[in-house]
Symmetry: C2
Subunit: 124 residues, 2 copies
DNA sequence: TATAGTGTACTAGTAATCTATTACACGCAT
DNA sequence: ATGCGTGTAATAGATTACTAGTACACTATA
């Protein structure tokens, strides 16, 4: 996995797991890969994995069962909130940054439109 | 100034200066506040300011004149690239994150629309 | 009961970031 | 020439993030 060295690895792993859950690659109630396996997969130390997971446990996103593994919560409220936050955060960032550059709402729409067209063109 | 403790302060200051330039609060050729003054304003050490500025100098965004101060470049190409990058970056982040959640282009447009409406409502 | 697979805890060492402090280099006005 | 305002450099210490390694705790199953 590629990490941005401007942000703590444990935090990027947190986001990675959250995204796996939101996108459905880790279903509600599913078991998360073992900490030692994750450490291998992400080429990172077990302690770093542990740090990321323990925060997800504190947040209620994961449930830890000693001797068994870590599991995705089945709490629908938590899962819904997770998805909402994952969508809102980048929107807020976009809005704030472009507003700081004095772009109007219309110019933001246009910028997104242009960007989408560009990306769709590239992926042909 | 409020800093995100997940990202190095020197990097956040870099972005802060870049934004001041792009938004026009620091015009082309204008003098950047003295390093000691910036350190006071941002309640940060002079070394940290220096680290941020020296990278902006390396990038060609600022020009350093020993004994005189740091000045915004007058190179139109550099300034234009700065603005472009500042707009593209959050767009790319939005697109990538929402695409990872399996949102379509139309859903992205709709999400932005909803978000803008929400923000404009709040600011009344 | 033994073993394999799981989470958890602890210590030690390295590297990066930030602070504090001091000193030096340059340009300009008095 | 002096002094003030500027950028620059260098050292030492605190804190955090990460790695490496070891050990322990719990569960299920052969």
């Amino acid at each position: 996995m590629e990490f941005d060295d401007k942000v703590p690895i444990y935090y990027q792993i947190e986001e990675y797991i959250r995204q796996q859950i939101i996108s459905g690659q880790l279903a509600a109630g599913a078991q998360v890969p073992a900490v030692r396996q994750l450490a291998l997969d992400l080429t990172v130390n077990v302690n770093t994995i542990q740090r990321a997971l323990s925060h997800l446990v504190q947040t209620g996103v994961l449930v830890s069962k000693r001797g068994l593994g870590n599991f995705v919560t089945t709490d629908a409220h938590v899962l819904a909130a997770l998805r909402t936050a994952a969508i809102q955060a980048p929107l807020a960032q976009l809005y704030d940054r472009l507003a700081a550059l004095n772009l109007t709402a219309d110019e933001m729409r246009a910028a997104l439109e242009t960007y989408i067209a560009q990306r769709e063109k590239e992926s042909e």
